[in-house]
Structure formats: C-alpha cells, structure tokens
Symmetry: C2
Subunit: 340 residues, 2 copies
DNA sequence: TTGTAAGCGTTATCAA
DNA sequence: TTGATAACGCTTACAA
C-alpha cells in the first residue's frame, strides 16, 4: 500500500493525503480523520526511502565504532546503546552502527553526512586532541559528544561526568584515611576522561602537599586483564602503594583478582577505589558493600546523549552541555593506611 | 556531485555512466575507464537513498534487540556485533540496530521488511517455541539465526554451537572425577541454547546411571549477580553439589565470588566448569589456568552469521547451517570429588 | 481547503 | 555500445 493507491481509494490527491498524515494545518478536520482512518485500516506506512530521498532527512543516528588495537569493542558500549536505543525507539529514530578500523573513522563520518545516511552522530571516546569536533562542525552535521575534548566547551554539545572532581574526592578520601602512596590504574590517557581523572587525582595529592609520583600511575585499556597486570606491577615495584584508584569496574576486578592471588585482603592490605559504570551485567557497588567506588551509570549517559542530539536535530536547541556528578559510595575495599 | 552533473561533464548519458559504475557488461572498456576516473576525481558517490528507492535494496542488516525484563542488553552482544560489524564493513553493509520492548519485537521485523529498511536480519536469542522463524519465512526476508529454535533445522539458516555435546562432555568429565552431585547454573531455559545445555548435562548423568535432580538446576539470566545468588542457594540446600557447571562466564564469576565469601576454594571444595564466550574484556580461560571451561568465541559466531546472511542476500546460497564445536579447556577450578 | 506537477537521485526498460 | 524516458514513492511549490 503506497500513497498513490491510498489516495486513489480515498478519492483525494496524494498531496492532501500526505498533508493530512503529516499534520499540516491546512487540511480540514473531517478529511484528516477520514484519511487517518483509512491509512490505519489499510495499514499504510510511508516508504522511508522515498521520504528520505524527498526530504533529505533520514531519521537515523549514526555511531561510528572504531575497533581499537585489540580488535575489541569497548565493553561499556552495550550499556550505552541500551540507554540511547531506548530513546531512539521512543522518538522515532533508527540507530546505525558502523564498525570501522581506526583509520577509516573520519572518512566514515564524511560519508554518513554526504550521503545523508544520518541526521546526526554520537561521538564516542573523545581524545584531548580530537579532530572530529572541528570536522563535524565544518560539515554542519549535528552531533553530541559523550565526554569532552580539548576544544572550547561551548563549541559543541556534550554529556560528561565530572571526572576530575570525582577522582579528586576519591583521592582525598584515601588521603584522609592516612594513605600517602596512592596509585592510579587509569584508562588510556589520550582519552579526555582519563586525563581528567588523572588531573583530579594529582590535584588532590598536590593539595595535600604531596608530589605526584609517575611510577604510581598506570594507563591501559580498561579491561580486566589490564587491572590484573597493573596491580601486579605496582605490588612488585620498589615502593608499592597502599591504596589504588581504578578507572573502571573491569580493571578493578582484575586488580582484585591479583590481590587474591597474593593472599591480600582489600581494605586491609590494600585499599581499592573502583569506578562503577553500573554495567547491567555486573553487581552494583553499594549493594554488598564490597567496593568503595565512584559511580555513574553509563546507560543514563546514553539516554541523555540521545535526547540531546534529537532535540538539536529537531531544532529545539543549540549546543547544550550536561555535566553529571558521580556518586561516591563507601564500601569495604578501603580502610586506614597501615602504620609506618 | 550527483549522477546528472557527472554525466553532463563526461558528455554521456546518466544511463551509461550508471552502467559503467555498476559494472554492466555492455559498456566499452574505454568508456568505463574514463567514467571511473572522473568519478574518482570528482569524488562522486551515489546517494544511497536514491539507490534504495530505485532498487528496493538497502544494503543494511537489521538487528532487533529486545530489552529483556531487566531493561538490559545482553552483555555478550557487544562482542557479537564486533564480529558481525567487521564483516558488514568489509562487504559494504550497514548495521541497523533497533532496541525495542519485547512486545514490539515482531512488529519491528514486519516494519523493517515492509519498508525495505533492511535486506535481512539476524535473529538473536532464539527460543524453542519461537514464532519468528515462521514469520520471517512467510515474509520471505533473508535471515540467519544465532542459535537454533524448535523448527526443522533445514527450514532456516543458523549458526550455533553444539551446546548439548559440550555440556555432555563437561558433565562426563566431572563424573569421571568422581562427582555425583553435579549442579547446573543455566541460562533462561526457554532459550534453546540453555535447553540444549541442560539436555547434554542430563544425558551425561543418565548415561552414567544417575537420575537428574531438579533441585540441582538453576535457571536465570546470565549475569554475575545471578551466578552469585544460585551458588548460594545450592550451597545452602539440604544436599549441596560437589561440582557446578555454569552457562556463562558471568555467572561463573558470580559463583566464584560466592565461594570466596564462604572461604571455599574452587577445584578443592567445589569444582566449577564455566562457559567462556571469550568476551574481549575478560581474561581468557586457558591462559592462567584458573578455570576449567567450555569455550567458544561469540565474536566468531557474529562474523559467521554476517557472512552467511550476506551470501544469502546476494543469492549465493540457500539455507545453510554451521555447527561449531566448543573446546574444552582444563584448568584448576575442577578437581576430584571429596571422599564420601 | 484541495489539486497539479515538479523534484529528490538513482536504476531499468526499451529503442536506437 | 549508447541514450531517452519512465519508474521508485514520497514532499512541496505553486495554482486554483
């Protein structure tokens, strides 16, 4: 059933039917009702490919996902799209995902735009020196960044967690417990979120009169095995830390695993503060009190990004910014620093 | 730059240019080369919306992802799409993901098809009594199932792991170690893969002259907290098992966590066999020997599904089937059953 | 308030 | 081997 056929049956022109269906004001209420009823009964649905060709609008949001070196997709991603996907569904948008090699990334954005495949994109994993912001602004394609870059903050829309603040608070908490050698198992530091976490961590140390020690900071992709590896390195170093901050729940798990292997007890032999993205498949911090953690749900961030982007696409707003505050949950993985 | 403009500059008709670009045989080599060269130089790319409208082909694969009760996306999903996405990218397809409520699911498939949004779909999480197979066959939309349903196996294409065999072997291994009370922490049993795992498990028991005990089987969504919960229930039951099979690496982790809390050592106080989907963010079984596991990469399954579906769409094949065999990796989480 | 007709950028049919 | 021209199914000036 297409427009032509539908309007033939109604004895109206395609124009009128199209207008009635799309809520144009100049259609009489009576006609509109009759059209709506017929469309419903005959189960008419416009062909989106035709609509897109005619309007240039795709009702689709693009996500470009680079396969990082290890050929893996960021494990936090599935929760992000759960949040975003729900919003897309509710607001009538499709989600187009393009898995690409890192090198093809910017080309993919260009192609998306030029071909009118998407009305807007979500930018994932921004780096400090990220050329995508300028590029997307140049192309005038609506976008929202999940996180921030080094660009001026009002030059683009973003949804971010106050990472610096969160890690500063967490570090201060450890300092107040008496810890002086505090390590950080961070994400990859070209990523802005990781850089900011380090800033917060160092600011707390400096504020306490301590000098940050590079030997106490690790940086790696945030997967379980890396938490394990870094915890081992830290313990084996000449002057091991008494407390560790982890940038992800996955590295936290890896670090915990290593402590177990060494027979060490979290909170007593080593204090650990994790970062809990509230991944839906893992236990939530705060429930069993096992973990002291900075907490902020990534799924929520996904839905905020989606709403913000669609508002922008539909011309409801200009650039917007949302800075979420992370919670700090105290559990049993932290405790006072050992004497001497 | 569009076809019209390009052909004007070439002094050729749109028809010829289109034919040259699409590899039709009736174009002279000379013309073809000239056209190709111009297209390249002027950076021409056909507008896919126009192509789709004209051809009815979308070069897009759909994935319908129902949000299950807990509003979460299957955590194994991100690895699956890493595998599939790479193939799509290589073979020129887009991935369209629709996150829907469980109730909207079949409607979404219908809409996808009717509107020519996708050329085919991947069916996730098939159940034994799954109405999607009949529906998709009726709609004549190409599809590949990741897993199998209760339908005749040659009535659709699928990629699956031999779950029954894998769990039969794993159970037999435990039996040979002397275990007699062997539990299974399974996935949701309406899902075919879970039902088959249970079948394999029970077949091994029966083959050994034992009677399956319903009290030793748990069934729940395969996330960490459920492994933890079920391990606890099993230990607290009147006659606890001496060995446990887990249907997922996540429930395995949860079960291990509970053992630790109770001060029990895997492989000595309780034998555990896990299922390792080789999720990219977790340690791989077999590396540190911590876990005895049935192993089959979900990412590989994703790429197989994608290739099979595209072959089908492009008319290269009819229904096909691929049964992958899981590996069995022996680690330290299993050991002889305790005496008496 | 409704209708006519052009346009969106391709591919496909038919004729030359 | 090439070219006119009609689809594909919608939206949108412009006219009535």
């Amino acid at each position: 059933m297409n427009l032509k056929e539908l309007s033939r049956r109604l004895g109206l022109s395609q124009t009128t039917v199209s207008r009635a269906l799309n809520g144009y004001p100049e259609v009489s209420e009576k006609t509109r009702r009759r059209v709506a009823e017929y469309a419903e009964r005959l189960n008419y649905q416009p062909n989106p490919n035709a609509t897109r060709l005619a309007t240039g609008k795709s009702n689709t949001i693009g996500h470009v996902i680079p396969l990082s070196g290890h050929d893996m997709i960021n494990p936090h991603f599935s929760d992000f799209i759960a949040g975003a996907g729900e919003v897309y569904n509710r607001r009538g948008y499709d989600m187009l995902i393009s898995v690409v090699n890192a090198a093809e990334q910017s080309m993919t954005y260009k192609t998306f735009h030029r071909n009118k495949r998407v009305d807007g994109v979500i930018v994932h994993s921004p780096t400090i020196d990220d050329d995508r912001i300028a590029m997307l602004n140049r192309m005038r394609i609506p976008f929202v960044v999940h996180g921030r870059t080094g660009d001026p903050e009002d030059s683009y829309s973003w949804v971010d967690v106050d990472n610096a603040d969160a890690f500063q608070k967490a570090t201060r908490y450890l300092l107040e417990l008496g810890h002086r050698r505090i390590a950080l198992i961070n994400g990859l530091e070209p990523m802005t979120f990781a850089a900011r976490r380090r800033e917060g961590y160092e600011a707390a140390l400096v504020g306490f009169g301590l000098k940050p020690d590079k030997g106490l900071v690790g940086s790696a992709e945030m997967i379980e095995p890396n938490g394990h590896k870094w915890m081992g390195r830290l313990l084996d170093s000449p002057a091991p830390p008494t407390a560790v901050l982890c940038s992800s729940i996955l590295t936290t798990m890896g670090a915990m695993r290593l402590l177990r292997e060494r027979g060490l007890t979290p909170g007593r032999d080593m204090s650990i503060v994790g970062y809990d993205d509230r991944l839906s498949f893992l236990p939530s911090s705060g429930e069993d009190k096992a973990l002291t953690a900075v907490r902020s749900g990534i799924r929520l961030a996904g839905s905020h990004c989606a709403d913000m982007l669609i508002d922008q696409i539909e011309g409801k707003t200009g650039n917007r910014h949302l800075l979420l505050e992370a919670e700090f949950v105290i559990g049993n993985s932290t405790g006072p620093a050992p004497r001497n």
